[in-house]
């Protein structure tokens, strides 16, 4: 992509959903030219996520790690990842920022849009299909009860769902090649950020009591009738 680069952002471990983002970025760089940089923020074990992205074909990786990031909320995460993108842009313009659709831990799907807002980029989110010719991207998505086709000029932020592609499984050669690539680690100071106070605070977190064991019956002919009786009672 005309000397540009693709960057993907994610937070914490490379969850299953982020693999679709890495695949989308690597596949686009393969077909259009350009390079892919994998970006994450989080504790030191987030490094494993970046290693995986390198094995899948990312050219290099940036890890934002800082003790001040403990308790980061969506606003902080978006600002930090946006600063990381700006930091990478010192080495050349970035055409696409690709993310997964959600974080697995709390199913929060705020991040892609928050990051787009922090970067001031157009956003094509929740893509089930992606086309890109290097100057413009077009996606198809289903959101609520509508199917939509959206397009926007690059640079932009793209988030992909698990419908968008089939993430590659790195072969031995790819694993070997990834070992030669490095993960760069930076702190907040290097990104020019100092105040990263979150705007939310978890007050309490308690495990929910396990569900009381239910009634399980084996169908011996009256299973349907007993099922109907239970459903009728619960709906009453």
């Amino acid at each position: 992509m005309a000397g540009g680069r693709l960057v993907r952002g994610e937070d914490d471990v490379l969850n299953e959903l982020d693999e679709y983002a890495v695949e989308a970025a690597v596949a686009l760089a393969e077909s259009l030219g350009g390079t892919v940089t994998a970006v994450t923020m989080g504790p030191s074990d987030a490094d494993d996520a970046l290693r995986r992205a390198l094995q899948m074909g990312a050219d290099d990786a940036l890890h934002v790690a800082d003790d001040a990031l403990a308790g980061a909320d969506v606003g902080v995460t978006a600002r930090v990842l946006a600063a990381a993108v700006r930091h990478l842009e010192e080495g050349g313009p970035i055409d696409l920022v690709v993310t997964g659709m959600a974080t697995m831990d709390s199913l929060t799907s705020m991040l892609p849009d928050a990051l787009a807002a922090a970067l001031g980029l157009p956003a094509l989110t929740l893509a089930a299909e992606v086309e890109c010719d290097g100057t413009r991207a077009r996606i198809t998505r289903t959101i609520g009860d509508h199917t939509e086709v959206l397009s926007a000029p690059l640079p932009l932020l793209l988030s992909v769902t698990d419908q968008a592609n089939e993430p590659r499984i790195p072969n031995f050669a790819a694993m070997k090649a990834a070992r030669r690539r490095t993960v760069r680690t930076v702190g907040l100071a290097a990104l020019g950020l100092d105040d990263v106070r979150p705007a939310t605070a978890v007050l309490t977190a308690v495990p929910r009591p396990p569900r009381a064991p239910g009634t399980i019956i084996s169908d011996t002919g009256d299973g349907g009738a007993r099922l109907a009786a239970f459903l009728r009672e619960r709906l009453a």
Partner: protein, 308 residues
């Protein structure tokens, strides 16, 4: 406390639930991006409506720009919206644009010393958390079915137009096509009080799943296996990459209970399961389960339910 509620022109049950949630916090102003349904807003106790002067849109970037203008105009303590994919996207944007706290999938709300405290389930619903928004306005995306819609008839709301220019990033996105999926006549999955879902055990035939859903007045859902196989539309997928549901009653048919699926139904009040495999993981979370063949158990059950 002043509360701004972000709404589209066509109001469905989850929007009315958010209005009810907002009324528990204080006085309500609605931002309606599009043509406001003033009669419905009056019936649900909304006294004031802000209407942005901009083309109608559902694009989160443009809705967020309108919401920022509405926040500047009405200085609310909290901004409430529906915790749908689109609502969460707007919430994430507001967290950045207003430098404030946003919480999604909220199931309960209270105010403590002027601070909005939101309850939400996390980690596949296995933990209940309370999250305080320490820097406002508190942006709260409310999970459908968590609150009860409640009418509170009032006068016709005062309508105030709001000049809004969507930002360059919002204007750069072109909607080339937008099509409603064919109406099924069933309630939408996210907001349904009853959900009947089918998995691998249906062997691709969703007829009995649909018949039971219709007998119970519920929505039809599915596992990822079923949608990946093309047995039913992808939009029916309940799971971490699909829809999260919180119905009063969930009925799982031929579903083993992979974490991908069960993580998204922890909000279900009652869980009922039919599966031929007695070792299926989902029986562990069932209030009532039948170990049996769907083709033998369901026709009797459906007939019995129709007969009442």
């Amino acid at each position: 406390m002043n509360v701004l509620v972000v709404l589209p022109s066509v109001l469905t049950v989850p929007h009315l639930e958010v209005i009810a949630a907002a009324r528990t916090l204080g006085s309500v102003t609605a931002l309606v991006v599009g043509d406001p349904d003033l009669a419905m807003l009056a019936r649900h106790g909304v006294p004031r409506v802000l209407v942005p002067e901009m083309p109608p849109t559902t694009e989160p970037a443009a809705v967020a720009d309108a919401a920022v203008a509405a926040v500047e105009a009405s200085r609310p303590d909290a901004v409430l919206l529906v915790s749908s994919f689109a609502g969460k996207a707007v919430a994430g944007r507001l967290a950045v644009l207003l430098d404030c706290g946003a919480v999604t999938d909220v199931t309960g709300l209270r105010v403590e010393d002027g601070v909005v405290v939101a309850s939400k389930p996390v980690l596949q619903g296995s933990w209940a958390t309370e999250c305080a928004v320490t820097r406002g306005p508190a942006v709260i995306a409310v999970r459908p079915t968590a609150f009860e819609a409640r009418e509170e008839p009032g006068g016709t709301p005062e309508v105030v137009t709001l000049p809004v220019t969507p930002g360059a990033a919002a204007r750069a996105v072109t909607v080339e096509a937008r099509e409603a999926r064919p109406a099924s006549g069933r309630p939408p999955l996210e907001e349904a009080r009853v959900v009947v879902a089918g998995g691998r055990g249906t062997d691709g035939d969703f007829t009995l799943v649909e018949e039971l859903a219709d007998a119970l007045g519920g929505a039809v859902g599915a596992t990822r296996v079923a949608t990946d196989e093309g047995w039913i539309d992808h939009a029916a997928q309940i799971g971490q990459t699909g829809v999260t549901i919180s119905p009063r009653l969930y009925v799982g048919l031929g579903i083993s209970g992979a974490i991908h699926h069960t993580a998204a139904l922890q909000g279900a009040e009652t869980i009922v399961v039919v599966n031929s495999d007695p070792d299926a993981r989902i029986f562990g979370m069932a209030d009532f389960g039948v170990v049996g063949d769907l083709r033998e158990v369901l026709p009797t059950a459906i007939a019995a339910l129709r007969g009442t």
